[in-house]
């Protein structure tokens, strides 16, 4: 009941948010300088040629009119045609989205694992040099942005100790038996672990670059809440029952300490997805972010709009999942 209401309320706000995002993007990319049509045509094209093409893409109409036409199309599943790639935007975006999803989720998993281990180890060894070391590592990982981590990793694992692939999503001359764009998932399902290995080798560095700052934030906050929780009476009472440190941390403290971290992960994960734009570019990873940069360079207005809408949808979906997980983990909300 509560769940249904939450979802409905969330859908309503999502619609409003998306509309706002659409309007802003639509207007902004039409006001900034740069003429997409002129870029498509050879230098000797006549003014008449340009006008013809402008009319074809609807750029001769006023911005509100253009928006209505575009919005009407979107509601019917038509996001228009990419100017630079001359294909329907929806197909292009959906073709690239799985690559970005796989990369982001992999980065999230890495961040949670790294941050979780850091927090648990730091709590277990609180007050010792180990904890101090973890604090320093967290501080460093947090203050270096993802793309710089990308560069550092390229130097480290791409150049000095070349163990991972630097570029692309998969080795180009491999024959791929896939029917979807979720290569990693499909390679596992089809038990083609050779391909899984190749995909992971490509994904490792960009995912780690995206993961490190988030891992540090998770590690820091989770350790902080764990340490606070460790002082609470119910934790102490559990100790008197005969339980050791590991049990106390994992079973008593962690489930309660994790709630604030969960909220934070939600917010930070959307930042991480934003980070894919540059990191994908850096590693020539064929995802949505990389496509977004091309779209901006080419002033491909329909494609930019489509990508932005998909990113916005993704962000809202992430927030919804976080809220639901939070409610599921917190009995006080579950029974409210």
């Amino acid at each position: 009941m509560l769940l249904l209401r939450t979802i409905l309320a969330r859908l309503a706000t999502t619609a409003v948010t998306l509309f706002g995002v659409a309007v802003i993007v639509f207007v902004v990319i039409r006001v900034v300088p740069g003429n997409p049509i002129a870029m498509m045509l050879p230098p000797n094209a006549t003014a008449a040629d340009i006008d013809r093409l402008r009319a074809l893409y609807g750029f001769d109409k006023s911005i509100p009119q253009q928006f209505l036409i575009w919005g009407w199309g979107v509601l019917h599943g038509d996001f228009g045609t990419s100017i630079s790639l001359r294909q329907p935007v929806l197909g292009l975006v959906l073709g690239r989205l799985p690559a970005t999803l796989e990369l982001s989720v992999m980065a999230l998993v890495m961040a949670v694992l790294l941050g979780g281990v850091a927090a648990l180890t730091g709590t277990r060894k609180r007050g010792t040099r180990v904890e101090a070391g973890i604090d320093v590592a967290n501080g460093v990982a947090m203050s270096v942005p993802d793309f710089l981590w990308g560069l550092l990793l390229i130097i480290l694992f791409g150049v000095l100790v070349p163990v991972f692939q630097i570029s692309g999503r998969v080795t180009p001359d491999l024959k791929l038996p896939f029917t979807t764009q979720f290569y990693l998932v499909e390679s596992v399902l089809r038990l083609r672990f050779d391909l899984t290995a190749d995909l992971l080798s490509h994904m490792f560095m960009p995912a780690l670059a995206l993961a490190l700052p988030l891992a540090a934030i998770i590690g820091q906050l989770l350790k902080q809440s764990l340490k606070e929780t460790m002082h609470l009476d119910y934790v102490t009472l559990t100790r008197t029952k005969g339980y050791g440190e590991n049990h106390v941390i994992l079973r008593e403290a962690l489930p309660n300490a994790i709630l604030p971290t969960l909220t934070l992960i939600g917010v930070q994960f959307t930042f991480l997805i934003g980070g894919t734009v540059i990191v994908e570019r850096l590693f020539s990873y064929e995802g949505l972010g990389n496509m977004a940069i091309d779209a901006v360079i080419n002033r491909d207005l329909p494609l930019i709009q489509g990508i932005v809408i998909v990113f916005a949808l993704l962000f809202t979906a992430v927030n919804l999942v976080v809220d639901m997980t939070y409610a599921a983990l917190n009995p006080r909300l579950r029974h409210a």
């Binding site: 609180r126 009476d233 119910y234 100790r239 008197t240 029952k241 005969g242 008593e252 489930p255 006080r332």
Partner: protein
């Protein structure tokens, strides 16, 4: 006399400064006896209980002494063994029932966990035992309560649950650390009576921490008075209320309205008494320093 809990010359000190919070405290609780532990706030009452149960804060350490539980000195056991021994033979009734239950775990698991995980009982047996105990502490509909989360229950109910949980493993020793202070006045009496009744029925050795001499007179047979980490009096309740041996105890008693004239409660312990007991603490401290 050989008590079930025997603390000998226990000193607990801050790790960084070395300042002692307990000064060579000795205390004995005979099997089946209820001993009160009184003293003003900060005297170190809770510290004694924590030292016994092995839950001292990380900032403090035991610097000397013995804590005998039955026939073993807990301080000589390796940590894991000590935890098991304490978990199986002792239990705590905490001060604040609102914070002493894990908010994200159901009541049932929090009452049975020690039985199953530490004592190795079968889950079904542990659950039957928990139901039985919840009924014994007058919890209505124990089966439903077992499935509840702490936030669904009142403070009084939660303290009953914690009492049931403390008695679940039939421990020889229970330490109750101001178990009624955090409760409504109306509930305090019921809980006090419940603890006394449970103790009598189960024959448990009980160390009852409080600063309420009225409570001591009702539930305890013997009494220890602590001041600034120093044990200043160790006597039976009957003797204490007849004629406290130590001037500080006498002043404490005088400051408790019921037993003398009601205006006395408005009088603080006199400065002369405080100076005298402070001098005693200083002497103990000097003696301890010199001995090292």
């Amino acid at each position: 006399m050989s008590g079930y809990l025997r603390i000998r010359n226990l000193s607990v000190a801050l790790r960084d400064s070395g300042a002692r919070l307990l000064r060579s405290v000795s205390l004995e609780v005979a099997a089946g006896e209820v001993r009160g532990l009184v003293g003003e706030s900060g005297a170190g009452k809770s510290m004694i209980g924590k030292a016994v149960l092995g839950i001292l804060p990380r900032s403090v350490e035991v610097v000397e002494g013995e804590i005998w539980l039955g026939d073993v000195d807990l301080l000589r056991l390796p940590p894991a063994e000590r935890r098991k021994r304490v978990g199986a033979n002792a239990a705590l009734i905490p001060q604040d029932p609102l914070t002493a239950l894990n908010p994200s775990r159901r009541i049932g698991g929090q009452v049975t966990d020690r039985l199953v995980d530490i004592l190795g009982w079968k889950r079904a047996k542990a659950e039957a035992r928990a139901l039985e105990l919840l009924a014994e502490v007058h919890i209505p509909d124990p089966a439903r309560v077992m499935r509840s989360y702490p936030h669904e229950l009142s403070g009084g109910m939660r303290q009953r649950i914690l009492i049931a949980s403390a008695f679940a493993a039939e421990p020889r020793l229970i330490i109750a650390d101001e178990p009624t202070t955090a409760l409504d006045v109306t509930v305090q009496k019921q809980i006090l009576r419940l603890i006394a009744a449970m103790q009598a029925r189960h024959g448990t050795t009980l160390l009852f921490v409080t600063h309420d001499l009225g409570v001591v007179s009702k539930v305890c047979q013997s009494l220890s008075v602590l001041y600034a980490g120093l044990m200043v009096e160790d006597t039976t309740v009957a003797d204490f209320f007849r004629a406290p041996a130590h001037p500080y105890s006498a002043a404490l008693l005088a400051a408790t309205p019921k037993y003398t004239d009601p205006w006395a409660s408005l009088m603080p312990v006199s400065e002369a008494v405080i100076d005298a007991v402070r001098a005693e603490v200083d002497a103990a401290e000097t003696e301890w320093r010199d001995a090292r």
